[in-house]
């Protein structure tokens, strides 16, 4: 019998790519497509849970594609990678179930399913690969499939096609420039060190720095990676594409983009800073802290002025990513643990909020919050879900966001970063303000003028819509009430990040055919 456990990393990438092709062939059988894709997503979720437990019990798993050792493509499942895969599989399953009822039938059966699978393949590949150039390839798969998904149209068509195209054009051009910068960085690293394998690069750089012959241009390459991953994660100078793209996408795709896709940038920074460039950390840490604070400030202030509910959530995503980067920039064991907890909590809460906002928009027939009001009577499920999400994002107990914010500020104060923590705390109050202002404007108060804007439609409480929202809301509350497993996992991940030796050993002990 083939040992399935051993092949889990490649299966997590290969099955979605295979399904992308199968879905195109099944386009005349929409029912079968839906059932098959949901089944496969559930299987992928179970496999990622299995992979995480396997890695937790047996240490870092390395899978060789071909038998070329460190010269070939390696998939490395360490705790960080496998838990990111688990997070993305969970959220993508929810988004997929939601989109069965949300996306137009024609778009759903023709292209949506296969592009969605390609996006999952890109995400899993990025999180599992151990090779820098391979990571670039998966980034491009991710970029192209998500661009095409942004253009797909939801039922009702509350976003104009021309708006979607303008947003996609911006997104594509900026990410293309980002990937060109990444290629420059990869090529310069290869020209200096003669390898693309991340563990091998780490060994060579530490050997060079021990002998004192570290070339100065490595200190230029490290900030280039910050530009690349910062562009993915939308931190301050590269943030302006996000509030156009995320609201223009249909809601399940917004949930994927805001929940998982911007975390790819965070993942990249964690990998590159702590595995490849531990010698450049003295340069990178102040840079990341500064950019993170600027991101928090810009995102929070812009979010206050928004009338469009999805645009408000997008600006809030920018601001929250700033908090995650703040923890990474402080760079001690406690703060990195805190920002990993923050990452998971924000991913779940924000994807739930985007799914909820899709139903709210459908219910009200508009995205403009000034034309909503008093919807708590007509849409109780959506209002309570939005309240749970808003409480988590703004950090109120007993939601998961409280634990995350508390850990982050506590760790920052313990490590004596008083001024950054003070600024972050000030803007956390603004988060509270803009999230609850949005909730009050949409659900509280008088119902809108029905003569001018029309009646609300009936609340859509089909199982496809309500199950993902209820499950994600339950996860938000669960992470707040019983946060210990997540905190223990984050601590273990941080230990692996700060001490990359096991990772390097696991990768480099492979033989070559």
């Amino acid at each position: 019998m083939i040992d399935v456990m051993q092949h889990l990393p490649i299966l997590l990438v290969a099955i979605p790519i295979l399904m992308a092709a199968v879905m195109i062939m099944l386009r005349s059988h929409p029912k079968l497509q839906n059932i098959l894709n949901v089944t496969v997503s559930i299987v992928l979720l179970l496999m990622s849970i299995q992979l995480l437990f396997h890695v937790w019990d047996n240490g870092i798993q390395v899978y060789e594609v071909g038998e070329w050792g460190k010269y070939g493509i390696l998939l490395v499942a360490d705790l960080l990678g496998s838990s990111m895969v688990l997070l993305s599989s969970g959220i993508s399953l929810m988004a997929l179930i939601y989109s069965l009822d949300y996306i137009q039938e024609h778009s759903l059966s023709s292209t949506y399913h296969s592009l969605f699978n390609l996006m999952i393949a890109g995400l899993n590949g990025t999180f599992l690969t151990g090779d820098l150039f391979n990571m670039f390839v998966f980034f491009e798969i991710l970029l192209l499939s998500s661009c095409a998904l942004v253009v797909s149209q939801g039922k009702g068509g509350h976003t104009k096609t021309s708006d979607k195209m303008e947003a996609t054009f911006k997104y594509l051009i900026l990410n293309m420039i980002g990937s060109i910068v990444m290629l420059i960085a990869v090529a310069s690293l290869y020209a200096t060190l003669g390898t693309l394998n991340m563990a091998d690069i780490a060994v060579k750089i530490s050997a060079l720095s021990q002998s004192g012959t570290l070339p100065w241009h490595l200190f230029m390459i490290a900030p280039l990676f910050i530009i690349v991953f910062g562009n993915k994660a939308a931190i301050f100078p590269m943030h302006y594409w996000l509030p156009d793209v995320h609201p223009s996408a249909p809601s399940p795709i917004s949930a994927m983009l805001s929940g998982v896709m911007i975390k790819v940038g965070v993942y990249g920074v964690l990998r590159v800073c702590f595995l490849i460039f531990p010698d450049a950390l003295f340069l990178l840490k102040p840079m990341i802290i500064f950019l993170a604070l600027a991101t928090i400030i810009v995102g929070a202030i812009s979010a206050i002025g928004q009338n469009d509910v999805k645009r408000l959530l997008a600006y809030s995503s920018i601001s929250q990513v700033g908090y995650i980067f703040l923890g990474i920039g402080m760079g001690t064991a406690l703060t990195i643990t805190a920002s990993l907890v923050y990452l998971v909590n924000h991913a779940i809460a924000k994807s739930m909020l985007f799914l909820t906002s899709g139903s709210i928009i459908h219910h009200a027939g508009t995205r403009d919050m000034t034309k909503m009001g008093g919807m708590i009577q007509s849409a109780p499920l959506m209002s309570s879900a939005f309240l749970i999400g808003a409480m988590s994002i703004s950090g109120l107990p007993p939601m998961g966001g409280f634990i995350a914010k508390f850990m982050l500020f506590d760790a920052g104060i313990l490590d004596q970063y008083y001024i950054p923590v003070a600024i972050a705390l000030l803007f956390a109050v603004l988060t509270l303000f803009y999230m609850f202002r949005a909730w009050l404007r949409m659900f509280w108060g008088e119902e809108r003028d029905f003569v001018e804007h029309g009646e609300y439609r009936a609340q859509n409480t089909s199982l496809y819509v309500s199950i993902p929202i209820i499950l994600l809301a339950a996860a938000v509350i669960a992470l707040g009430l019983y946060a210990e497993p997540l905190i223990v996992l984050s601590q273990a991940i941080t230990d692996q990040l700060l001490d990359p030796q096991p990772y390097i050993d696991a990768v480099l002990t492979r033989g070559v055919r």
């Binding site: 390839v137 491009e140 303008e166 594509l172 293309m176 090529a187 020209a191 060079l208």
Partner: protein, 140 residues
Amino acid sequence: MNSVLLSITISILFGIGTFLILRRDIIKVIIGLSILSHAVNLLIASTGIFDGDKVPIITGSHESAVASGTIFTDDVVNGVMSPVVSVMTGTHYVDPLVQALVLTAIVISLAITAFILILAYRIHEEYKTTDLNEMKRLRG
């Protein structure tokens, strides 16, 4: 990277590409992106050129190739990062890996250029213009 002329060509291409992506016309932006990605491809290819003419073809197993000197191994202590070697070690190979990398990068940029050209065509249909300054319905 050994040739000064090659380096100057690459930097000029980068300059042209950067100039073009700052234009207002969509098509010029797309051409600029293509030129930039070709400049990067040249940059990658140029990292694999060592002064030599031998073809790096391995016959047999990895071990025999190491023994015969076709593959040279890392000697991190002495600053040898295979396949990046200084001229002193006297190897005369062209690094084949970078050519595979460039091939991958070209295919990817082809796919993206195709997508972005179709997008530009649809934008022209919706907006009746290719001027980026008139595409301001979203305010960022």
